[in-house]
Symmetry: C2
Subunit: 400 residues, 2 copies
């Protein structure tokens, strides 16, 4: 099998180890390295309370090149004051020393419980061990992907390949996230590697757009964490003509990147805490794009609807109720709703639909709810997942 | 035992019957009558999609006097088009004929499943039977309170008595609501009777204020239904000097009314679908009142925090996370959080608190979370309840 992990694009090596931050003994420290130095783009949480790692990485993004990303799971290093900040900087410093680069050329990310200080002896040992194990093998990429997991039950990876002129450009990504997934930098750690040659501003643009229509369109429980971070590293080793404008080449790369992110988002939604199925809410006929977004999110976030999806119940009344209370402009006499291609509500009136067919649709692993507000031409969408007793169990039992 | 139901204030009679709307055979039709004619106040849902009953009652509120309220549970008569509207009017017409009043002097309310036409033969028989059974007994008031229940497991009633001059003024109320409880006319049917003598504008003012600081400060799942209705009827038979200004007498009445509504809201929160305990989120130090409201609601609505409360886990990290993502102005270095009187986070840093004491606090039937945003002098609060597996079971199994 050919490598489809984050070490697949040329110029990257990785490692993942268990250093004892997690009491379970599972992997909890990952290292992703680009020895030649990568052009980097990043998107961070908009939560007003941010982790120490986010503070440090934001600062380090001003470096011309990024040589590594060091990540720990099992501890968010958030709400940890000045000691937390010093620890995040130390993680960069230790990693930099192993690689012979500047601390400012290393990014850091953390995920896990809030308000506990990092066990720095363990973290230090973990970084030392990971630095010894760095490899560009598929196994190393997978080990990194596993080291960033928290309540995730599955490791999420995606891979895409495109041709730019005669060069083969590879893009690979891994994401963690299962709860605390709200939009606007949706709640996760996301790491993407590529060997494309591209200018820094355009790399940033491409990441922002890709995240905007993938991670920022998924809601599991409507909140952003203090640690959300998406990092995209480009080694520039694919040999394609350098992308410096929003040309066709740029478009092709950006499309593949969005596609990869959407793939990861789907995997994330399906692995959301307790989730058994996912859905896409498409809102059209809205007066403004903002209204479309708001209505789509209102449905995707609505606990009663999420429960109905879990019960395989085509309860369109809860969809209409959520849309009506979203505070958006709509025409009650034009309002329509479809489950996949089946109209259940049309022009303000329930249709006589085939209940068996409706049940079949909502029982699928993924279905689409299409809503027409009947007032304009704007549209948007949101992904969501069902709400289950398992979600409650996971989050009531996850003790501080 | 003296009467403490909605028939306690002078001038009211009531009835509740089972007419077969609910397949369970439980009571599903209630009638509340003020033979002498009552001054009425009402607050309705702000959902853009409203039930037929809400449309009709809004219209009938322009009548000088209201003689009756007819209510059915088990069917929301929402999203039911012109037939639904005609049925809601018919419910008023039938009731009016029994009482010898105008249909416009009767209000109507419905609660239950959306999108199904009312079985009008059963409803008609129910109104006929209820009209025969009207009584001012405590049993009749209780029968009405039971007839408005849906997934409620307990019947909610509250009673207050005040002295205005030498007159004894009675206020009694009943509320239904267990899920679909969001703020801004929080999701319920609420009926209050009183024998106070008061002008219509002041009665409206008193109801709006009382709802504003009670029902509009409770969130169970953050959404408004299509049917939310609060109705307050004043028979004027207590013999107090008519209240026509915002005097001390008005203040005394308004305070008792708010107190009664808060009592009902507590009962509702504790009986929220699957809930086992409730909490109050108090936010102070906010730049604006709107910010305080928003931050308090963000915490009260946050599924991860609600799960933590269910797990009796003093997970203050989730509180801070919710506050940070609420989009309000805050000072990360001044941010503080208390559980009852125990500081768990102070001036941006975790405190070394007694974990046993914190667990005891969050294990109570009700506790208070106090948050200081550290930027201003505004404050507000919200009530919420825990999120449980039972909530999911109820709402996944409630089939259309």
């Amino acid at each position: 099998m050919s490598n489809d992990s984050i070490t697949a694009p040329q110029g990257f090596s990785a490692a993942g180890v268990a250093c004892g931050i997690k009491v379970s003994g599972k992997a909890d420290l990952g290292l992703l390295v680009c020895p030649g130095g990568a052009t980097a783009a990043a998107v961070f949480t908009t939560n007003k309370i941010v982790s120490a790692a986010v503070q440090v990485s934001r600062e380090h993004m001003s470096s011309r090149k990024v040589h590594a990303v060091v990540v720990n799971s099992g501890n968010a290093n958030a709400c940890t004051g000045t000691k937390g900040l010093a620890d995040a900087k130390k993680m960069c410093g230790l990693t930099a020393r192993h690689l012979g680069v500047e601390p400012g050329e290393v990014l850091v990310a953390s995920t896990g419980i809030i308000g506990h200080q990092l066990p720095m002896d363990k973290v230090t040992a973990g970084i030392n061990e990971a630095a010894q194990r760095l490899s560009d093998s598929q196994e190393a990429g997978l080990a990194f992907a596993q080291a960033i997991m928290t309540t995730d039950t599955r490791c999420k990876q995606a891979y895409r390949e495109i041709k730019l002129s005669r060069a083969t450009v590879k893009i690979a990504g891994t994401v963690k996230g299962a709860g605390m997934i709200g939009p606007n930098m949706a709640t996760t750690l996301l790491f993407i590697t590529t060997d494309v040659t591209i200018s820094k501003p355009l790399l940033g643009r491409a990441l922002k757009d890709a995240v905007g229509s993938s991670l920022n369109r998924l809601t599991v429980d409507g909140h952003q964490s203090t640690n959300d971070t998406a990092i995209l590293l480009a080694s520039g080793m694919a040999g394609n003509p350098r992308i410096t404008s929003r040309s066709g080449q740029y478009g092709k790369f950006a499309k593949a990147l969005t596609d990869l992110c959407t793939d990861l988002v789907r995997q994330m939604a399906l692995d959301a805490e307790g989730a058994t199925r996912i859905f896409k809410v498409v809102v059209k006929g809205a007066a403004t794009k903002a209204d479309a977004t708001r209505a789509a999110r209102a449905v995707a976030d609505y606990p009663l609807f999420k429960c109905a999806v879990h019960g395989r119940d085509p309860n369109w009344g809860r969809i209409i109720c959520a849309v009506g209370s979203a505070g958006v402009k709509l025409n009650p006499e034009k309002l329509s709703c479809r489950l996949d291609n089946l109209y259940v509500f049309r022009n303000g009136t329930p249709t006589k639909f085939d209940v068996k067919e409706a049940s079949r649709i909502v029982s699928q692993q993924e279905h689409t709810i299409s809503i027409d507000l009947g007032v304009g031409r704007s549209r948007d969408f949101y992904y969501g997942c069902d709400l289950t007793a398992e979600y409650v169990r996971i989050n009531a039992d996850y003790h501080t």
